[in-house]
Amino acid sequence: MPPQTLVDKIWARHAIAVLDGNETLLYVDRCLLHEGFWWNIVDSLKSRNLAIHRPSNIIACSDHFVPTTDRSGGFGAIADERRRDLILRLETEGAELGVNVIGMMDERQGILHVVAPETGITQPGMVIVGSDSHTSTHGALGAIAFGIGTTEAMHVLATETLWQLQPKTMRITVEGRLPKHTTAKDLILSIIARLGIDGGAGLFIEYAGPAIEALTIEERLTVCNMSIELGARAGTIAPDEATFAYLAGRPQAPSGAHWDAAVAFWKTLRTDDGAKFDREVRIDGASVAPMATWGTSLDQTIALDAPIPDPATEPELSKRDALARSLVYMGLHPGQRLRDVPIDYVFIGSCTNGRLDDLREAAAVVRGRHAAVPAFVSPGSRAVKRAAEAEGLDRIFLDAGFEWRDSGCSMCAGANGDTLQPGQRCAATSNRNFPGRQGPDSRTHIMSPASAAASAIAGHIAGAAQVLV
């Protein structure tokens, strides 16, 4: 047998049929749904008189519309009736249909892409799909994981399968180590800045190399989360001892004899020597610096110390227009140094950077200092929130003037009403800086938790190195 990539191995285990040598009927292990699209998916399932093929493989979690401020009033306290109805619909209908519901008041509640790994739902070798593009996150544990639309999700519910073209693959090898004050977020932003937002278009990425192996599982989740921002189908990292140690003892992970069998299988999930990728990219980890976005697409990312680019120096007309439009939207001028730009707001949270490691990273910068602008932390899950409180991180943020909120997607996309005022500029640890993403005419700068924390203290975009002096 010719040498295979990690993705090829997982794919082959899940292929049921192949049409025209390309279109594959792929078996799906887990499907992750949220209340934002549950209603569309179940409406289309019911309109066709279809049943859920395997409800135990479906996870439904309230995260997009849930409030992040005071939940003591329960569902009744959700001001917006439509949001409340859609949350309740997922939670009651999900229970009726027998899927695994993680509701707003459940102690496991949080953002799907934080909850599934930390409960052990996400496992190596799986094919995981979700009604959310950041389903790519789960590849960090050695799974093939990607977002799908609502019609495809309906198809998965009805059949536990999905039609997909055979994967084309790219390996991104990160050599060396990341420098001090440089995080997994800076690494993935740097990769996007170099390759472009279509640099991974249609590809299944495998991240490899010493700098990737040195990342904690939570850091790997951050990297794989933003694979979609490269236009990639998915991003994955070969499971290793760190992965097995992370999963051991988690409630949904295999146990006993099943654990031993699972680990034996997981150890086979590595790219063979000599396996061919459709594209190979090498990056020197030491060349990565703290980064943030300045514009309205993820490739408009520069080092904090760099000047904002001048469209006049861009030879290609369409790119020049895009740069100019972004500058106008963001209210910035060419040549301004990114880390001097004043901000109005700081958001720390999201499926990209709402995990315990992220909150520790931000707290280390905030400790003993005070925020110069309104700022809040939304831990990625209730479990993250409890763990952070157990080590006193909540006090550090509260003492610094941050709000310490509940868990949900919150101000990443503002679907729950956590939005900026028009024209406000936010340092955010989330994943997208699109126009209007955090509310109409909002201005978003995507960065690491350490940089967002430093920006909160400084009142302008800053890196941890500027604050920790």
Binding site: G36, R82, E152, G436
Partner: protein, 199 residues
């Protein structure tokens, strides 16, 4: 699903690259049914709800357009199918661009919307002609896989044969998968025997 065969209609030259899903269907509307004004809502309408006259989709000379022509990465971003559904809700059945967001393109096929990839030179030519002659019809011919106008083309485009067949017949994936019910059952028997911890 409505079949897609030959579409002869006015095309609007949007031209921009990186028109993302949040612009196509802003997230604050995702909790409501799809409506005609959803498409590019915050680009088409000001904060007070009045149409922005300078935006090309509001230009009356392109009224009734069913084809939208964009640059690179049309529909990049989230998995929201609303970003696709907003197109037919506003009368569009086809988007032409040099590349598409992956999930967006998959969602198009599920909803009878044809995503056509053309080379940059062809897009530039199309955009120039549509701007010079507003209201010009463009013909998107799926059986022959070509795009043409009275003034330029034809431009050939590629499409996966299974996707093409489904669009031509108005068949979606569920109908196709129905033929594989026994194969799925056989697969599951073996699969859960090999990986009992996944059951």
């Amino acid at each position: 699903m409505t079949p897609f065969r030959v579409l002869d209609a006015i095309a609007v030259p949007l031209g921009e690259s990186n028109v993302d899903t949040d612009q196509l269907a802003p997230s604050r509307f995702l909790m409501r049914p799809v409506f005609a004004e959803l498409l590019l809502h915050d680009r088409r309408y000001g904060r007070d709800g009045t149409p922005r006259g300078e935006f090309v989709l509001n230009d009356p000379s392109y009224a009734g357009a069913q084809i939208i022509v964009a640059g690179r990465n049309f529909g990049v971003g989230s998995s929201r199918e609303f970003a696709v559904l907003a197109l037919p809700a506003a009368g569009f059945r086809c988007a032409i661009a040099t590349s598409f967001g992956d999930i967006f393109a998959s969602n198009c096929y599920q909803n009878g919307v044809l995503p056509v990839v053309l080379p940059e030179a062809a897009i530039e030519e199309l955009l120039a002609i549509l701007r010079a002659r507003p209201g010009l019809h463009v013909t998107v011919d799926l059986p022959t896989q070509t795009v043409r106008t009275p003034a330029c083309g034809p431009f050939a485009f590629a499409i996966n044969s299974a996707r093409k067949a489904c669009l031509l017949e108005g068949l979606d994936d569920v109908a196709l998968t129905g033929r594989y019910r026994e194969a799925i059952a056989r697969f599951e028997d073996t699969y859960y025997r090999d990986f009992p911890w996944l059951a």
